[in-house]
């Protein structure tokens, strides 16, 4: 929502001047005015070769492709003509051809505005904007405020809409019908627009029904081309390293935590390495460099395994308990929450630019002693990790100061040594949880950074912000390692895949993209949400992705096939947090409508229809089973649920700030 508000302010207030004069004046009735006129035009920033941020030449080039191609007063007639044709066509084709309305409407309107036919543009808009689908209304509102040519230059989203072709998926039969109709008429105006601005992905087969189409459309650039979702994705998990765990017959804890092998043959770590064969869907171990395991990491893993044995198996008849952490007196200032994997610490990012860390367990937070004191302790003692802590600094809460704007993202490192926070000031800060001071500020986004997350193995982290890109960083590089560019609007949410080889980003352009860390390519594009996406989560087995947006729906995606496999309706407001249980049996979703809902994930993913036709065309038939999948709805007292977390034993922790209305 923040992104949209920004857009609107930008449009309402900005009075953009005319840029460098275009070389060709608009000529009425001349069909020749193409995009070439803008190219040699050098903007105020000097030569064409400069990589100035304000690419004025490109903007003019881009916009001058809207040069007059038809009589402005006839636009309404063209559009009505097309409308009439489509409404009279056969039922089976009508749904598909109706997809044309929205992109055509926008492009024709923008053409009128660019050529400064303000009155015609206004009347065109008035007449036809009500016909568009309801999920485009937000975009139309923004469009309605663009009435002059100067407005267009500053609006990045509209420029991106223009440069990226709107993708439509139409069956061959419907396409032939449309082509024949448009070409037989004398005026080729609409046909020109279709050819220039739209990309029609033709498939062979049955035309889709309205329901199928509605499920997939909604993004700013139409749907995704089929080739976009064809590349191979390694969605399997990496093999867990083999750690020798001592055999203890009586479930005693705290004894041989160092994993010293006993006389009996120690039990090997059995998570994930049940078969010696390489999972064909898993990436090779060294596909991307990952940090090696330290001793402390091995200890953590052993603790993890011990907790796993005590884990509650969840299911429709065994629902988890939910423990809710309410932030009081936050005055709507709570903007980010994260919980460590072992559920010992909670961090909150606030609008007053502080990050606060609380200890959830009775163990207090301590910082490391000063250097002079550290030299005095015995380094060989067993409890050296306890001795380096300064008792005088023990407290339940630590406040971290440093940001100069609201903190929108927080993420603990898996080894609990670091905390990341991303803020509106454009930086991502790395804090040490041993000294509770800031170590590094990563500058790269120059605009608000909406989300950040550490990789499941540590060392790498990803951040996404208002500048429409997500960046991959490593803690020891001050510049990003990868830049994931391609979204048309702000990147709201960034998550790593459990095998750390892929990053998913959800954006305000209503698409979710999956990026490959190795080479920065976009390997999947998922469209279907009707509002900006605010939450993402991967299933623990790495095969599925769940996304939540402002439209209140949770969509489930199969990463391997690149298809939508489920839709969970029920929330009435933005779904701002999602989490799968530790073994993937339950999906918990938290929303701004003050509820937590639990869904049956196993049932949602079973019997998937992935026959050849579906895979080839990307069409799905979603069953209307949201009601069956809903296992429970839990209301809070006017507290939006900002974060969800499953402990290692499958207890749900939820967090939110009490906001009385």
């Amino acid at each position: 929502m923040a992104a949209l508000a920004e857009e609107q302010t930008e449009v309402a207030v900005k009075l953009e001047p005319e840029g460098p004069p275009t070389l060709l004046p608009p000529q009425a009735g001349d069909g020749a005015g193409e995009g070439g006129s803008g190219a040699p035009n050098n903007g105020p920033n000097g030569g064409v070769g400069s990589v100035a941020v304000e690419d004025q030449p490109d903007v003019s080039a881009v916009l001058s492709a809207y040069n007059q191609q038809g009589d402005p007063t006839m636009y309404e007639e063209y559009y009505s003509g097309l409308k009439h044709f489509i409404e009279c066509s056969l039922d089976c084709h009508r749904a598909e051809l109706s997809q044309l309305f929205y992109p055509l409407f926008v492009h024709m309107y923008l053409e009128l505005v660019y050529n400064q036919h303000e009155n015609e543009a206004k009347s065109f808009f008035e007449k036809f904007h009500g016909d568009q689908e309801c999920y485009y209304q937000d975009d139309l509102r923004v469009l309605s405020s663009l009435t002059k040519k100067e407005h267009m230059k500053g609006n990045e989203t509209m420029l991106d809409f223009r440069t990226s072709k709107f993708v439509l998926r139409i069956s061959r039969d419907s396409y032939q019908l449309l082509k024949r109709h448009l070409q037989e008429k004398q005026n080729n105006q609409i046909w020109n627009i279709v050819q220039e601005h739209l990309y029609i992905d033709i498939f062979d087969g049955m035309p889709r029904s309205k329901q199928q189409i509605d499920a997939m459309v909604g993004s700013l650039a139409g749907e995704a081309k089929r080739e976009a979702n064809k590349s191979k994705v390694f969605f399997g998990l990496l093999k867990e390293p083999e750690i020798e765990v001592p055999l203890d017959d009586e479930d005693e804890e705290g004894e041989n935590e160092e994993g010293k092998p006993k006389k009996k043959k120690p039990k090997k770590d059995s998570i994930g390495s049940k078969s010696k064969k390489q999972d064909p869907n898993a990436p090779p171990q060294n596909r991307i460099p990952l940090p090696e395991l330290k001793d402390s990491d091995k200890l953590d893993k052993i603790m993890n395994m011990k907790e796993t044995t005590k884990r509650v198996r969840l299911g429709p008849d065994c629902l988890p308990s939910i423990c809710f952490y309410t932030f009081l007196n936050a005055y709507q200032g709570l903007t980010a929450v994260d919980v460590t994997d072992d559920s010992s610490l909670i961090a909150g990012g606030f609008a007053d630019s502080t990050v606060r860390v609380w200890s959830v367990t009775p163990k207090k937070l301590r910082s490391v002693k000063q250097a002079s004191d550290l030299s005095l302790i015995d380094k060989e003692s067993d409890d050296v990790l306890e001795r380096i802590m300064d008792e005088k600094t023990a407290s339940e809460l630590k406040i971290l100061y440093g940001h100069s704007g609201p903190v929108y993202g927080a993420s603990f490192s898996p080894d609990r040594n670091y905390l990341l926070s991303s803020s509106e000031d454009g930086t991502v800060r790395l804090w040490s949880l041993q000294t509770f001071t800031c170590l590094v500020g990563y500058k790269g986004h120059n605009y608000p950074v909406w989300d950040t997350q550490f990789s499941p193995y540590g060392y790498y982290f990803v951040s996404g912000g208002h500048d429409r890109v997500a960046r991959l960083w490593a803690t020891d590089h001050y510049q990003p390692l990868r830049i994931f560019a391609g979204h048309l609007a702000d990147v709201n949410c960034t998550r790593f895949h459990p095998n750390s080889n892929y990053v998913a980003t959800g954006s305000a352009d209503r698409t979710v993209r999956l990026w490959d860390v190795l080479n920065g390519n976009c390997v999947r594009i998922f469209t279907g949400h009707k509002g900006p996406i605010h939450s993402l989560t991967f299933s623990p087995n790495g095969r599925f992705l769940a996304t939540g947006a402002t439209d209140g729906r949770v969509l489930l995606w199969d990463i391997g096939h690149g298809l939508m496999v489920g839709e969970l309706k029920g929330h009435t407001d933005t779904v701002c947090s999602l989490r799968f249980s530790r073994d993937g049996e339950i999906l918990a979703s938290g929303s701004m409508d003050n509820t937590v809902r639990l869904w049956d994930a196993i049932k949602a993913f079973e019997d998937l229809e992935t026959d050849d036709f579906t895979t080839a065309t990307g069409h799905i038939n979603l069953p209307e089973n949201s009601q069956e999948l809903l296992l429970g709805t839990y209301m809070t007292k006017s507290t939006p649920v900002v974060h969800l977390h499953f402990t290692r034993r499958n207890l749900v922790l939820a967090a939110g700030a009490y906001s009385p209305q």
Partner: protein
């Protein structure tokens, strides 16, 4: 905050009504009542800035009145400064392509906390201890020592405001009344990190003012101004705030140049 809490539309001034209408047109239905005021303030500030700039441009071009071209130029210049928008998409795709070509760097094993080179981190101390004397070795803990230099009697009565001088200095301070004795004096006072620079009458007795060394100096009848330096705000400073003695001959000659009048 529902819009029902706002003043009824009829009693709002016309421009507030207009702003409410704009918000409604843009689809914003829930907002705090103060938003309208903030938007109005912003609009006012923006328009006046533009028109001021336009007036300047117009007078520079020696025109009689401000016309549309001046306003257009003013808008363009301001827009480049304040309303920056993120880079365009093709630029981003280009730099992404360049950046994504380099392979991921290998990770060095056993390297401790993996942080960027020190100059890119925030771990360096952002304060510097001023060494006070050559004899005593500067201790490991570093603190800034603010300096008070005594001003002429006419400008400031000084010593009584310095808090609890030690007995050693007490005798000296009583002599401060005369200009002659003043000039020979120079002393430093330790200020606790959290205190404001308004030193004059506000030094609490429990402050870290511990030692005041008065130095009969070679300076003669120079008038020296009492000033204080701001202590750096480093909060890790709270330990080890021991005042250092300062000898005049150790001072740099530019001491007198640091005449910041922070009082």
């Amino acid at each position: 905050m529902e819009s029902g809490k706002m003043a009824s539309p009829k009693s709002m001034p016309k421009d507030a009504q207009m702003m409410a209408q704009i918000l409604k047109d843009m689809g914003i239905t829930e907002y705090e009542p103060r938003v309208i005021n903030q938007m109005l303030e912003f609009a006012f500030r923006y328009v006046t800035t533009i028109l001021d700039d336009a007036k300047i441009y117009s007078s520079h071009a020696k025109k009689a009145t401000v016309d549309a071209d001046d306003v257009r130029l003013a808008i363009q210049c301001r827009a480049d400064q304040s309303f920056t928008s993120p880079p365009p998409r093709d630029f981003l795709l280009d730099i992404a392509r360049q950046r994504n070509q380099t392979p991921l760097p290998l990770i060095k094993p056993y390297s401790g906390p993996r942080l960027p080179p020190d100059r890119y981190c925030l771990t360096a101390p952002n304060y510097r201890l001023k060494s006070l004397q050559k004899k005593a070795s500067t201790p490991a803990g570093r603190i800034t020592v603010p300096r008070l230099s005594v001003g002429s009697v006419s400008s400031r009565p000084s010593t009584p405001t310095l808090g609890t001088p030690t007995p050693q200095t007490m005798s000296v301070s009583t002599k401060v009344g005369t200009p002659m004795s003043l000039t020979g004096q120079r002393f430093t006072v330790q200020m606790p990190a959290s205190q404001s620079p308004a030193v004059k009458a506000s030094i609490p007795a429990t402050s870290a003012v511990q030692n005041v060394l008065i130095n009969p100096s070679l300076i003669g009848s120079k008038n020296i101004l009492i000033t204080t330096n701001m202590v750096s705000q480093n909060t890790t400073n709270e330990s080890s705030n021991v005042l250092k003695r300062k000898r005049d001959d150790d001072d740099d000659d530019d001491d007198d140049d640091d005449d910041y009048d922070n009082l």
